[in-house]
Amino acid sequence: MIHKFKAKGRNVLLDVNSGGVHLIDDLTYDLLEEISPEILKECPKCPGDVLEKLSSRYQKEEMEEVYEELLSLYHDHILFSEDVYGDYSNTAVESPIKALCLHIAHDCNLRCKYCFASTGDFGTGRKLMPFETGKAAIDFLLAHSTNRENLEVDFFGGEPLMNFEVVKQIVAYARSKEAEYGKNFRFTLTTNGMLLDDDITDYLNKEMYNVVLSIDGRKEVNDRMRPRVDGSGCYDRILPKYKKFVERRGDKEYYVRGTYTKYNLDFSEDVMHLYEQGFEEISMEPVIEDQKKGYAITEKELERIYEEYDRLADRIGEVKKSGRHIDFFHFMIDLDQGPCVVKRLRGCGSGNEYVAVTPDGDIYPCHQFVGHEEYKMGNLEEGTFDETIKKEFAGSHIYSKPKCRDCWAKFYCSGGCNANNYIYNGDIHDAYELSCKIQRKRLECAILMKIEESE
């Protein structure tokens, strides 16, 4: 399988199964319309009917030259390379659990309009996780992680800093078990910034491997969708806190992360606004919501969104060309040392190597499944854990998803978000096409940026 596209005066060819990326001229681009793997396998020379078909536009000698180059790539297994991964997907058996999303607070001090957690409580009532539940979650992770050394715990909410003392207790408890169990805990935390102060900043910068700071960009954009309980915006309160946080963070990982909606389809302005405020690690995601909501993104907005990603890629390219640093999460791609294909087959690992735990100790495949009772996997206090659901998620990979199997982007998005697939299509194996289209556009931008950087 190949994918080719034209952008910014360049022709890009991706060989899907090898991950090979090639820059090709117009003649090669057009010739590939006529060439199949079967032809390359059977014909040592460019077939006459192909030469004839393009003879009004190209010289015969040139076409033969291109054919030889294509043949060489084909024999090097970086053009029309075989799909040899079906066997690996069949071995996609259950994994140890290595990552937890701890819903440390099902409560929030903001009332973000697009919140998938029903403004913090996931529709299950406002609650804080008691330390005993967090402790039990760590014990559960230690018991189910078998030989995995790197264990990840994300403090999520709601707003996790509303239960900060318990965060500290859980971190201390997990750290106390590292040597005994031969494990390395990596903690992460996602916050809306409202409760950040100097002490919390210093603590998080010491203990957290990664911190995600939520903000949507420009003040008017952020405050429209991220109001406080009293309806006022949060931008003026959180921005100085984030600046201080990042100044003190040193080289450790962080992201400022926003959500864009139909209200700010010019979201490159928001990304660049965040950059101008001093943030260099930025993520900006499309809102995923019921398409009946006024701010939801629908098919109608896609062309505008594609244009905006092109604009964003240009602006980020300019920053990089000037020798300055910026990372945009969805344009980051490593063509040489990215994840192995086994990881790419399975994606995020939700329900299999990653689970979420609520304040009540209920276990779900991930944070987005919380509240969907049919996917409740068990409860820590009751000591229950449903292996049937785990098996279902272990069997969820790009070859179990019909729409993904034939998609050129499958080794980069790995089958998309199981929760979105379920919530919007009713089946974890049925890809949510709107997200797919946006993902494919971002990937084209990312690949093109890599090519530009290599020139």
Binding site: G19, E65, H77, E285, F331, Q337, F411, C417
Partner: protein, 49 residues
């Protein structure tokens, strides 16, 4: 080559042999939380580098 320039050197099929060690970060723990983004992650296995 005159008409084609290959940009990267990696071949995904090679990673099938040594892959699946599980040392890498679960993708949703990085920054997304509402989408699945795997292609931009790093391999955490030193032996594969």
């Amino acid at each position: 080559m005159k008409h084609i320039k290959t940009v990267n050197k990696a071949n995904l099929s090679v990673t099938a042999k040594k892959g699946g060690c599980g040392k890498c970060q679960a993708s949703c723990q990085s920054a997304c939380k509402t989408s699945c983004t795997v292609g931009n992650q790093k391999c955490a296995n030193e032996e594969n580098r």
